[in-house]
């Protein structure tokens, strides 16, 4: 059962008791979130079953297609800013032709998955947390539990699949648009021809850069859906609790995306 019993604690006696309780609750929360992720992952064999197919398709559409607008703007301007900042510096040394390499490698390795992860955490993650939170406080999750309809299969698994599939795909799209945005700035602001830009862009980029970036995006997708569902399922106290779950989802997802992104980079490039 996903529905949890309410925990009512006495006020902590002092600052150390409060800190200790905070640490214990953070550990419990991490454990619960990982169990949710494993539970939902265990339901993925039912992905194409009659009962889940439509929900999975709807979530793929919501995460992938509905996010295209905001991802496009963010991707394009990320590439443009990278090209402009780097280009202005490189021009002092007559190296502006190399901005293609810089933009391409930055987008593939870091900026593509990172920016896509942040955008999806803020848009899709917060929406999932708000929806799950509202369902929890309105007893809809309890109703599913009582009807023996597993919320991990019915609600979380379609969202897990959608984010795990769509975040890497959106990252590919972000990479392409970012590199294209850099090309526009190169051609219009820095006097770098499109031919020179793309020639440089793909000369030093490796397949590994793309794969590592996509692996990061996949992990970011798991992070966003796990944090959002965990926070949503734990929501209490009506609208205030739903707001709190949504805010925490965005904050925790952002922090985990940063930290996990760093460690994946270290693992593959050090």
């Amino acid at each position: 059962m996903i529905t949890r019993e309410p925990h009512i604690f006495d006020p902590p006696a002092n600052v150390f008791a409060a800190a200790g309780r905070g640490i214990i609750m953070a550990c419990q929360g991490t454990g619960q979130a990982l169990l949710l992720l494993l539970g939902a992952a265990a339901q993925t064999p039912h992905l194409f079953s009659r009962k889940n197919r439509d929900d999975v398709m709807r979530q793929l559409y919501l995460v992938g297609i509905k996010s295209l607008g905001v991802v496009s703007v963010v991707a394009l301007f990320t590439g443009m800013i990278l090209a402009l900042q780097a280009g202005l510096e490189l021009r002092r040394y007559g190296q502006e032709n190399n901005i293609g390499t810089l933009v391409c490698v930055s987008m593939l390795r870091e900026m593509g998955p990172f920016m896509t992860g942040l955008v999806i955490a803020a848009s899709v993650g917060s929406a999932i947390a708000a929806q799950m939170g509202t369902m929890t406080v309105a007893e809809e999750i309890a109703a599913l539990d009582v009807m023996s309809i597993n919320p991990l299969r019915y609600l979380m698994m379609p969202r897990l699949v959608a984010l795990a599939v769509m975040l890497p795909l959106l990252t590919v799209y972000t990479n392409l648009l970012g590199i294209f945005g850099g090309a526009i700035v190169g051609a219009t602001q820095l006097g770098v021809s499109l031919e020179a830009y793309f020639d440089n862009a793909f000369r030093y980029a490796e397949n590994k850069d793309l794969y590592v970036g996509l692996f990061k995006a996949f992990l970011f997708g798991l992070i966003v859906v796990t944090v959002a569902c965990h926070q949503g399922f734990a929501a209490t106290e009506g609208a205030v609790g739903v707001g709190r779950a949504t805010r925490r989802t965005v904050i925790v997802s952002f922090l985990l995306i940063l930290v996990v992104g760093y460690f994946v980079t270290r693992m593959f490039y050090q």
């Binding site: 809809e140 309890a142 023996s148 309809i149």
Partner: protein, 254 residues
């Protein structure tokens, strides 16, 4: 059919259920009344494992609910239909899909048959022709009736009603009460109703229990309940202007 054995439940320093023991027989409508925060819904939630007792046991038939897990718990829960206080309908599904949900997710019946059963149950609760409306486009009373249709679509042995008339106007409340009574007669189910509405309790109940400070202070058939001299019961009856069963029957036009 349902048995509580010395069930104790605490939330922080507050003891909500204090060694509560009672038994509900098959086919009866057992009503739990009490003031807000007395623990009525808490006792109901123990029957379906949304809460587990700090001490004591809850039995459904020969199965101990608080010790069951996995398939056994699923089998126990399959005996229940639950009408939640808010209806607990899924907002993105229309009325028909909400009622179809338990069968679509838990049975292998063809979709046509599931739709037919859903339409049958919607008709039973007096809702025909609203299948394509979404929950936010129907009234509170209709939402409760849709919740009830969803609760009975799997043809459960036991139906739990959590505050079925709260937030509804008196006319709609009486309609819901008549419906609960009607369902017991038509389906022969065992019902447990939690309410603070004494008119409702005394009309639908075969036994009414007053929960106060974690225990039942009175648990008796409606006629005996109304005649009780217990001060908590008397206060409750007076607060709702009920002198005898005649007042209750009058409220229902009988």
């Amino acid at each position: 059919m349902i048995r509580f054995e010395n069930v104790t439940k605490r939330f922080g320093a507050k003891t909500v259920l204090d060694g509560l023991s009672f038994e509900i027989e098959k086919g009866e409508t057992f009503v739990v009344v009490g003031t807000s925060g007395a623990g009525k819904s808490v006792s109901l939630r123990h029957m379906i494992r949304l809460l587990t007792p700090d001490a004591g046991r809850v039995w459904v038939g020969d199965d101990c609910v608080n010790e069951a897990g996995g398939k056994k718990l699923e089998r126990i829960l399959g005996r229940f239909g639950v009408l939640f206080q808010s209806g607990a309908l899924l907002q993105w599904l229309n009325v028909e899909d909400n009622v179809c949900l338990p069968l679509r997710q838990k049975s292998k019946r063809p979709d046509g048959e599931i739709r037919r059963l859903a339409a049958e149950k919607l008709a039973l609760v007096g809702l025909e022709g609203v299948g394509d409306k979404t929950p936010d486009n129907i009234s509170g009373g209709m939402r409760k009736r849709v919740g009830l249709a969803r609760a009975i679509v799997t043809e459960p042995e036991i139906i739990l009603y959590d505050e079925p008339t709260s937030g509804l106007d008196p006319v709609i409340s009486r309609q819901i009460d008549l419906l609960i009574d009607d369902l017991r007669k038509k389906l022969g189910v065992t019902s447990v109703v939690v309410t603070h509405d004494l008119y409702s309790a005394l009309y639908v109940g075969t036994r009414v229990a007053m929960l106060h400070e974690g225990k039942f202070v009175v648990c008796a058939p409606p006629e005996e309940f109304v005649a009780s001299e217990h001060p908590i019961v008397r206060d409750f009856l007076q607060a709702q202007s009920i002198a005898d069963m005649h007042d209750v029957r009058k409220a229902f036009g009988k």
